[in-house]
């Protein structure tokens, strides 16, 4: 490439049709800013989505894309990537699309570790169908389909994902474009299935559901932004930290009760044992954001490629015709 792309190169001519104030706009912009940084040609991306507000995403990214059917984005992306491993394949999906109707393909994609990036727009609601509870809605949440309060305990996407063998899991607020851009670039660098959960505010049907974590005022105190190799420190004053007490994570204050920075856990996203990552994914105070887990292993397509090379080498048949004429054939004169 001669000239570097800017985010404008990834804008389409389509009018963006989300509700004014929806966090989806933030993610779109963050993606459009991240793509030029990935050192790939514009035509080498594919954005695949299902159905939902967030699934309109591909229409707005100037590259190849498919807006498909509800819940199947991960499975369709699987086919795109396997058929054409050179593409950088991205899935845009909602909490309903990915974890309600699409739950099966979601967990199987994570299990297989295909090099696909999933942006999960978690707004804890079905937006497009105008506000029913989703598999991440909270107990007691009042929605159109739970007028007296939701009775279904939610999934924690991080726990479900790591339980399905996710090797890359990150979480990020819906209102922090800069951090999102960084995360998307990191996800692209990761070789394997990468899941990025965005805490996306739906201004219409679930406004403020993440405010207690993401509001500018409280964000630094209520979230911990994890970085590999760095101590788990957070807080406006950057004086809170996480330590391990037995099998529990505890919040301590540096400088209090003799705690020093050296006592604080160092984040190791690359540890293959998921125990600590799961504890972080489960944490409510502070809420863990950033890259929680990032463990490279052979991808499915690499395993397939290896197998192909091996079988090709040893195969008796160079052409399809060889096969047709091999073995038990006979002549009729």
């Amino acid at each position: 490439m001669e000239t570097k792309y800017t985010f404008k190169d990834f804008q389409t001519d389509q009018e963006v049709r989300w509700c004014p104030g929806c966090d989806d706009y933030v993610v779109l912009r963050a993606v459009q800013k991240a793509l030029p940084e990935m050192g790939r040609k514009k035509e080498d991306f594919a954005f695949i989505s299902g159905i939902g507000c967030s699934s309109r995403f591909p229409y707005y990214v100037e590259t190849y894309g498919m807006h498909t059917i509800h819940g199947r984005a991960t499975a369709i992306a699987t086919g795109v990537k396997l058929a054409n491993p050179n593409l950088s394949v991205w899935v845009a999906t909602g909490d309903g699309d990915a974890m309600a109707i699409g739950g099966n393909h979601f967990i199987h994609l994570l299990r297989r570790n295909i090099n696909i990036k999933i942006i999960l727009f978690n707004n804890e609601i079905y937006g497009l169908t105008k506000g029913q509870f989703s598999p991440t809605s909270l107990i007691g949440q009042k929605t159109k389909s739970s007028p007296y309060g939701n009775t279904q305990p939610p999934f924690n996407p991080g726990e479900l994902a790591i339980g399905s063998s996710a090797r890359f899991f990150a979480r990020i607020g819906g209102n922090v474009p800069k951090e999102q851009t960084d995360l998307f670039i990191e996800a692209d660098k990761f070789k394997g299935t990468a899941l990025i959960e965005v805490l996306q505010n739906c201004v219409i049907f679930n406004d403020g559901c993440f405010t207690h974590y993401t509001d500018k005022e409280v964000k630094d105190d209520k979230q911990i932004y994890l970085e590999h190799g760095k101590p788990m420190i957070f807080g406006k004053e950057r004086n809170k930290g996480l330590v391990l007490k037995g099998l529990k994570l505890e919040v301590v204050t540096v400088g209090e009760n003799g705690v020093t920075e050296a006592d604080i856990l160092i984040h190791d996203a690359k540890e293959s044992d998921p125990t600590l990552h799961l504890m972080l994914a489960r944490l409510h105070y502070p809420l863990a954001t950033g890259i929680i887990r990032s463990v490279e292993e052979p991808t499915f397509e690499e395993r397939e490629e290896t197998l192909y090379n091996k079988v090709k080498e040893t195969s008796k048949y160079k052409t399809v015709d060889d096969l047709f004429f091999a073995g038990e054939i006979y002549e009729v004169k």
Binding site: T12, Q14, K41, K42, E43, D44, F45, A46, F47, I48, I51, P58, Y59, E62, T63, Y64, G65, M66, H67, T68, I69, R72, A75, I76, A77, T78, G79, V80, K81, L82, A83, N84, N86, L87, N104, H105, H108, E304, L307, Y308, V311, K312, S315, Y317, T319, V320, D321, L323, F324, F325, G327, E328, I329, Y330, E331, V332, K333
Partner: protein, 618 residues
Amino acid sequence: MITENNQAKQTRENAVLENVVIRFVGDSGDGMQLTGTQFSDTSAMFGNDVATFPNYPSEIRAPQGSLYGVSGFQVHIGSVNITSPGDSVDVLVAMNPAALKTNIDALKAGQMCIVDTDEFNKKNFEKAHYDTNPLEDGSLENYKLIQVSMTSLTREALSGMGLDNKAVTRSKNMFALGMVYFIFNRSMDHTIEFFEKKFKSKPELVEANIKVLKAGYYYAETMEIISTTYQIAPAKMRPGTYRIINGNTATAWGLLAAANNSGLELFLGSYPITPATDILHELTKHINFGIKTFQAEDEIAGITSSIGAAFAGSLAITTTSGPGLALKGEAIGLAMMMELPLVIIDVQRGGPSTGLPTKTEQSDLMQALYGRNGESPVIVIAASTPENSFDYAYEACKLALEHMTPVILLTDGYIANGSAPWKIKKTSELPSITPRIAKAGTTYNPYDRDEKTLARVLAIPGTPGMEHRIGGLEKDKKTGNISYAPENHEYMVNIRAEKVKRVQDYIPAIRSEFQEEGDLLVVGWGGTYGSLSAAVSQINNEGYKVGHMHLNHINPLPKNVAETMKKFKKIVVCELNKGQMANVLRMNFPEFQYLQYSKVQGLPFTTFELTERFKQLI
């Protein structure tokens, strides 16, 4: 049917037959499938025309000796054209009482029944629900009963080799095969070679099997229990190189040929289901050709991953059977809407619901045509024999790629598992396939169409300058962007239908076989070709004027269907369902009256029941 031209040779009679049906039946563990395959391969190589029909229990390993654990393999060989495995049997080989009980009714009166007397003991009578010994109670007196202690004789043949009981039991099928080879004057060479290859690294197994095979052969030759041997001359077949192939393998190979000739990588997304799984198995063996098979987590992922692959530029396939097709309906609609090439193969089985999974039926026709929301026509074609499954699989790919639409290929359990000689086609002999792929550097509109076919063009991701988005919402006829405009929707619904309709210009005309006009036209489609053809052939031989129009192209139908039907006084649509094709014809050609002959028993038609019915109708 045995038409004996008696020609006594040596001491024994040696009758020349035109064709003969042999059925090997025994326990699941008795190796009947192998025995039958060996016999049909040997006969084919000898030059006979051949058709086979395996029939195994739905249980994985049913208890020994049980009625529902009986496994069978029927072979029909001839010096004449053989189109079906035949209804009734000329030679029955029954390895135990249960096998005898469940199969004796198929044996023609007066014909040969070979049994292994060692298995006719009290325990097995009980399991087969026989109150008395059928070999002794007179119930078999209408047959030529040939009683052989096969198990003991096998044990004897193997004595001194140090093999265990299990090995003895496992090879007694070769004793039976040896006998049958003698009866039909067949060489043992092919089977001997087979074992030499198969057990290359286990010479004792090669030796054992050959020993038993020969023991059977010589036993039949020596003992005075076989009064007649038979000669079936080679058939007049088109010269060329042949192999015996079953429908599922032929289907898989047709796909391989299409991938080869289209220059595309084949991608198969599939979830196992009986009786379609063997296509997945077969293709997976051949990943060396650069094809990709993906066993998905379910049918929906099977088809949707294929849709992804189609978008990415592969020759995309998904394979399944009835219940799986039901699950794929929504996704077929998506592929249809996005106008992506995709081949969906439904190997039909007995329905509804889980139904009779190991049995055959043709009851997914309406589902193939209509099993999804909205106006969503796709191409539907059907293979009609094991060997032409190759051609229709190939054609399905060609139509999908050249017309940019999903194509549903219907086969069924009967032709998928049945086998027949296939005159091998070189890939270079096949029609060309020209996928509609946009060339970099041209201007690209995803929904620009070819004037003649109305097919759009695919721009493969990775092609610079052709970035675009497609989806399942209605789209503007020009730009391809989402459009809710009323007239545009109607226009798009119409043009998608018209595109499929125009495929009529690219498929061959139909013709009525045997008679081009006459009293009755027998209309069939798909896997019943062999049975219908055999019956129509016979009834014409009896002096009736009956034609046979067999449909392989269902949506669209060939252009000259009405013209063809017009020449007959009556039309009867015969199918293994309750009249689905008859209804398709009523919708398309309401000007005709259609009689129906339906059978829904999980079994193919028999010549007898068909000819009887035809006579009633004329």
